[in-house]
């Protein structure tokens, strides 16, 4: 388990599937966690393996994905999750502004054997 800063945001794939949120394509677009290669080796995961992210607000299981950028990667200690129902399991409350802090949340990431839940199941748990 290592300590990380969690950031979330838009991606093209998330945008392209936003009107089809109950499809597999959407799930694929938002249920991963982008990481620096060195961080992946520290926790012992490869591309496509499952990781669990924990913050003070909750936890979520996601597929690990190597940061795609070439020369300057996603820095060590920073992980990126596309905005969506998975990211929202671990993001926080607002700090008086009324807008939740979706980026820069302190968390932990570790390898896991637990399943990545489908979107419907995330909501079923809520209900």
């Amino acid at each position: 388990m290592i300590e990380v800063i969690v950031i979330t945001g838009r991606t093209t794939d998330q945008g392209m599937t936003i009107d089809e949120k109950l499809s597999n394509d959407y799930m694929k677009a938002v249920c991963y966690c982008e990481m620096n290669e060195r961080d992946m080796s520290v926790i012992g995961v490869n591309e496509g393996d499952r990781v669990k992210i924990k913050t003070e607000f909750g936890e979520v299981v996601l597929y690990a994905k190597k940061a795609v950028t070439k020369d300057l990667e996603l820095p060590e200690g920073v992980v990126f999750i596309p905005m969506g129902p998975y990211a929202n399991q671990v993001v926080g409350k607002s700090n008086g502004s009324g807008t939740p802090q979706y980026k820069g949340i302190k968390g932990y990431v570790e390898a896991t054997q637990e399943d990545v839940k489908p979107v419907e199941e995330l909501i079923r748990v809520v209900k």
């Binding site: 945001g9 392209m16 936003i18 129902p85 980026k103 909501i123 809520v126 209900k127």
Partner: protein, 417 residues
């Protein structure tokens, strides 16, 4: 139809060719938007198919019987529907809030403190010789922004890419960073500190800047400040990298102050990269109808604004609302988990063209026509420029406007006004 208008992101591109099924000139996201996809067949109450009239009548009853309903969404519909939403919130004594409150609302708070020195996208296209993207990633979020308005746009006074210095500042090397003349990578959550250092340098107080700020060396900071000051007309675009990170509205306030300072030496404007195609309208209509852009509570009969109480997320977390009308939005997908849990506890009425995560917990679902394809109306681009989006094909679905018009009439009738 030529020159149709795309209703996805804040770019609101108005040069789309659409033949009823396939669109041209679209970015990948726009193409997906215009492509056929799964729709809801009919309005439903608790999963049972009903008529529009029945669904709207039942929805009106729920809203009238609620003590303080939350009316949320609005960024992906037209101003004509938004206006009815604001009036509905007023008549119901509920809360009006819109998607800004999970996006650029901290920019509004910064504007309340300092104003905003802004301009239209055409200024970037026609005049800008320095363009900065700070904490935003248009290549993925606003794909045609670089070619239509900024990086490569061929303008009246600035003729194209080779006449522009492009700066990208971000915590990770995004796809947009590859378009930059220079990319500056800073540490997450250090935007405020970096702006403060840049302000010091621009103000001639370079001696006050330490050797390193937010991951940038003093040399790098001086180089960036020089690039900014050398611009004859500069535009800074910023995104959720500022509003969603530590500091939130204070980050934006600090960049506004930087731009104020730059305007004492040269010309600069600042423009937030607004997300949905009409999130600006969702704030603007509320401002002229009720005085505020978002987080508006009408429970006392007149509008009150308090972002830390009346944004949708806060009202849900505090359990301050007992029913919700969600229009053209998907809070179940985009709100923090705790807020979604509260949403699941209360009656939810959804109006949307497509099933989404909120549909899974909605009690009444009312499918609507797709704005810009099946329904027309006015929307405001990210810089506030209004465009009238078009109806490109016929549909059996009611528009948001039709649904809300009947809902408002029912509510007024039930309340006996």
């Amino acid at each position: 139809m030529k020159n149709a208008i795309c209703t996805f992101c804040g770019n609101v591109c108005d040069d789309i060719e659409f033949d009823g099924t396939v669109g041209k000139n679209l970015c990948p996201i726009g193409e997906a938007k215009f492509a056929a996809k799964r729709r809801m067949e009919a309005p439903t109450i608790e999963g049972e198919k009903v008529s529009y009239e029945e669904a709207i009548e039942r929805a009106a009853e729920i809203l009238v019987n609620a003590k303080r309903p939350l009316l949320y969404g609005w960024a992906s519909t037209v101003n004509e529907a938004i206006k009815l939403g604001v009036i509905l919130a007023e008549k119901l004594g509920g809360i009006y809030d819109q998607c800004s409150s999970v996006c650029h609302a901290p920019s509004t708070l910064a504007m309340i403190e300092e104003g905003i020195p802004g301009g239209t996208l055409g200024q970037a296209k026609n005049r800008a010789d320095v363009i900065v993207f700070w904490g935003c990633n248009p290549v993925e979020a606003h794909p045609r922004h670089p070619s239509r308005y900024s990086v490569m746009a061929r303008g009246f006074l600035t003729k194209g890419r080779q006449y522009r210095h492009i700066v990208v500042v971000d915590v990770r090397k995004t796809a947009t960073a590859y378009l930059a003349t220079e990319f500056y990578q800073i540490k997450p959550g250090y935007d405020f500190a970096v702006f403060t250092a840049l302000r010091s340098i621009v103000n001639g107080h370079e001696d006050a800047v330490p050797d390193e700020v937010g991951g940038l060396s003093k040399e790098k900071l001086k180089e960036l400040a020089d690039v900014l000051m050398d611009g004859k007309y500069g535009v800074i675009f910023y995104g959720l990298g500022l509003t969603h990170s530590r500091g939130q509205d204070r980050n934006v306030e600090c960049i506004v102050k930087l731009v104020q300072t730059l305007n004492r030496q040269t010309r600069y404007i600042l423009q937030p990269m607004r997300g949905h195609f009409n999130v600006v309208g969702a704030g603007a209509v509320a401002a002229w109808e009720a005085g505020y852009e978002y987080a508006i509570d009408f429970s006392r009969g007149y509008p009150r604004f308090s972002p830390s109480e009346f944004t949708a997320v806060e009202a849900l977390l505090r359990k301050d609302c007992d029913a919700a009308l969600i229009v053209a939005s998907d809070p179940a997908a985009h709100f923090p988990k705790k807020a979604v849990e509260r949403l699941a506890e209360i009656p939810v009425i959804q109006i949307d063209p497509h099933p989404n995560v909120t549909t899974l917990l909605a009690d009444i679902v009312i499918p609507s026509a797709i704005v810009g394809i099946e329904a027309e109306g006015t929307v405001y681009r990210m810089d506030g420029i209004p465009l009238r989006v078009k109806k490109l094909r016929e549909t059996e679905y009611w528009s948001d406007y039709q649904i809300l018009r009947l809902m408002l009439d029912k509510v007024i009738q039930m309340k006996g006004e």
